[in-house]
């Protein structure tokens, strides 16, 4: 029997290959560097950053490429490249904010950075999945790494709880995902997304197997878990609270964007022909996700939990754009590009907010109560200022990235004719303003407790954390003040796919 290996071009795989190699190098460097007496292993973080920067460069070389190597199992195209930027930005910011946090919690080890790099690979596979099998592998690589990272503080019961909850529910969600994929395979005879789209186009109108609908429902559950959509969000607050803060930041940005990348690939592109059948489910989930996330965020006294619920609410806004990514002409293009832009913008201001939470920690104590922020405006004016900026952006007030993100999402929803959903979303953003601005009020208008005033004297930043904060501020302002460049890029990315 003669075997013909698939033709492939390693250049297309360069970003993924660089990530894996960097991950392995970091792991080995830790093992062989252990003999050194110094004990400071922050060089592992810088090594990871170097790898991420190289990946960034390799990814930028892929702009304009449209290829489906390995028999269409991968889809390297503009949308994948755009999402890769989002993932890389989130991973870089997380690595930067991990250096001081990791030193305080003695978790600056090779495994920590190696797992972050491997999970970035998982995200890339989800965004570049031309086949449900590739997407599934990406989900699994991502999830396995995240379970371990959530439980990285092994000595803390909360971290153990986070990892356990995340693992059990995540494994359950994986079952749904796989079950859904097998139904789709049964209904269309293929796991390849392009072939699936072609099959639906060729199928006579309204005459597709009922299996397809079961499969779509199960996929919505599986991916809904990944993007913390209500009612699959139950794990979010506990996991986000218990995980190390740097990992909480990571969870809320990259992996969620990856979940949306997979949703876009499967629903907005492959199953676009069935938009009339699936938008209803997403409509309901989007409305529930926004409303529940915002309302529950109001009552939180722990900033990590508050940001967890806030991230649920923001997932709802992205789902609004997903609902709008099909149906009438041009809606697909606008809807998907809004998803792209929103995930990019959200990465910057959300990670920025988490970087401030990391900066608040002292010793092996994280100050995560909202009360800890009282009087921050006088104790650490710069930190309070950037936190205020991120809160304003999360609330969606101009001139920040958050405002532009919400604007394009609402515009795409209106364009596709989803007026009521847009109204719900707008009402929700009004509710959200309350709890974001409350953080600002606490920082500037409330007297800190006496012992905290004494602490202020010794406040210091680590260099890498400052860089992370500056990058997040720049991203938030750049996308807020000059959004046209990024909006154009997002639109062109989608256009390249639709041809």
């Amino acid at each position: 029997m003669e075997l013909r290996f698939p033709e492939y071009d390693l250049g297309l795989l360069a970003p993924m290959l660089i990530l894996v190699i960097t991950g392995l190098v970091v792991l080995l460097a830790d093992t062989f560097g252990r003999r050194r007496a110094s004990g400071d292993r922050s060089f592992l973080a810088y090594l990871s950053l170097l790898g991420l920067l190289l990946t960034f460069y390799a990814n930028s070389r892929l702009s304009g490429v449209v290829a489906a190597p390995f028999h269409g199992l991968l889809a390297i195209d503009a949308v994948a490249v755009f999402f890769n930027y989002v993932f890389l930005a989130s991973s870089m910011l997380v690595v930067l904010m991990s250096i001081s946090y990791g030193a305080r919690h003695s978790m600056n080890v090779g495994e920590y950075y190696g797992l972050i790099l491997f999970s970035t690979l998982g995200m890339m596979l989800m965004a570049a999945g031309g086949d449900l099998m590739t997407i599934f592998l990406g989900v699994e690589i991502l999830s396995l790494n995240l379970y371990v990272l959530a439980g990285f503080l092994r000595g803390q019961a909360r971290s153990n709880e986070a990892a356990m909850k995340y693992f059990l529910l995540g494994a359950f969600a994986t079952g749904f995902l796989l079950y859904g994929i097998s139904f789709l395979y049964g209904a269309t005879g293929t796991t390849n997304l392009k072939a699936m789209g072609g099959f639906l186009k060729a199928a006579p109108a309204g005459n597709v197997s009922a299996l397809l609908y079961v499969g779509m429902g199960l996929l919505i559950v599986g991916f809904g878990f990944k993007v913390t959509a209500v009612p699959f969000h139950m794990y979010t607050p506990d996991v986000y609270e218990g995980a190390p803060t740097s990992i909480t930041a990571f969870l809320s940005a990259g992996p969620k964007a990856a979940g949306f990348a997979a949703l876009v690939r499967v629903f907005s592109f492959a199953l676009e022909g069935l938009h009339a059948d699936w938008w209803g489910a997403f409509w309901l989930i989007a409305a529930l996700t926004m409303t529940l996330g915002n309302i529950l965020a109001i009552v939180q006294a722990n900033i990590k939990r508050m940001l967890a619920y806030s991230s649920i609410a923001h997932a709802g806004y992205v789902l609004v754009a997903l609902v709008a990514s099909g149906g009438v002409g041009g809606a697909q293009r606008l809807g998907v590009s809004s998803v792209l832009f929103y995930t990019l913008a959200y990465t910057f201001f959300n990670l920025g907010a988490f970087a401030v939470v990391v900066a608040m920690g002292r010793g092996d104590r994280d100050q995560v109560g909202l009360a800890d922020y009282a009087g921050l405006g006088y104790r650490r004016p710069w930190l309070a200022l950037v936190m205020a900026l991120f809160m304003v952006s999360l609330a969606g007030i101009p001139p920040t990235a958050g405002f532009v993100g919400k604007f394009v999402v609402f515009k795409s929803a209106l364009n596709a004719g989803f007026v009521w959903l847009t109204i719900i979303a707008v009402l929700n953003s009004v509710v959200a303003v309350f709890y974001y601005l409350r953080v600002i009020v606490i920082m500037y208008m409330r007297e800190p407790a006496a012992e905290m005033q004494a602490e202020a004297a010794g406040a210091s930043f680590s260099g890498s954390l400052v860089i992370a904060l500056i990058l997040a501020v720049l991203g938030t302002l750049d996308l807020g003040l000059f959004p046209s460049r990024y909006l154009d890029l997002a639109l062109r990315s989608v256009q390249a796919l639709l041809g």
Binding site: Y8, H71, E111, L115, F118
Partner: protein, 183 residues
């Protein structure tokens, strides 16, 4: 033809029956053994479909490796205490209602005959022609599906690292209490 039909229902009934025992039985050891039986019944179904490789993997990996691991875990933690937990037996009515609704929906579609199975793409045809033999399976794995096959290695590596990381004892933890616990 008739005989294979008979065997199909036999194995299917065994699989469903064993699965019910897994869920309903209160003795966790009996559950585990019923699970083995179910894996064998499923493997027989695969065999009847001409998928010898998957049938073998089903027995080797699931009934063999994974179940042995399950049994080890059950024997390492004392069974008496596990039996006391019984947390899985108390379901909220809502869960039952949703499960029954889902089952009714699926049954309805099966009975109505709207569960059309697509004729299958080129891959399925190729696999079908070789009737799922190990050789055809291997050829597909190393050609068409080379990429996922390779990427799975990263998955396994990450799983290994994670397992070691979470399970190993640090020097400071050997005493049973970690530094963070005490603070």
């Amino acid at each position: 033809m008739d005989l294979s039909f008979l065997f199909f229902y036999l194995f299917a009934a065994v699989a469903v029956g064993a699965a019910l025992v897994v869920v309903l039985n209160r003795n966790i050891l009996h559950c585990a053994m019923a699970l083995v039986l179910m894996f064998f019944a499923i493997a027989a179904l695969f065999l009847m479909l001409g998928a010898e490789f998957i049938a073998a993997v089903q027995v080797l990996v699931y009934a063999g490796a994974i179940m042995v691991l399950f049994l080890f875990v059950i024997l390492l933690i004392q069974i008496d205490r596990v039996q006391m937990l019984r947390f899985a037996h108390r379901q909220s009515p809502l869960v039952v209602i949703i499960a029954v609704l889902l089952l009714a929906e699926l049954l309805y579609m099966i009975i109505r005959g709207t569960l059309g199975i697509a004729p299958g793409g080129a891959d399925a045809a190729a696999a079908g022609a070789a009737s799922g033999s190990t050789e055809a399976f291997g050829a597909l794995l190393y050609t068409t599906y080379l990429f996922p096959f390779e990427v799975a290695s990263v998955l396994l590596l990450a799983a290994m690292i994670g397992a070691i990381l979470l399970a190993r004892l640090d020097k400071e933890e050997v005493g049973g209490v970690s530094r963070q616990d005490m603070s």
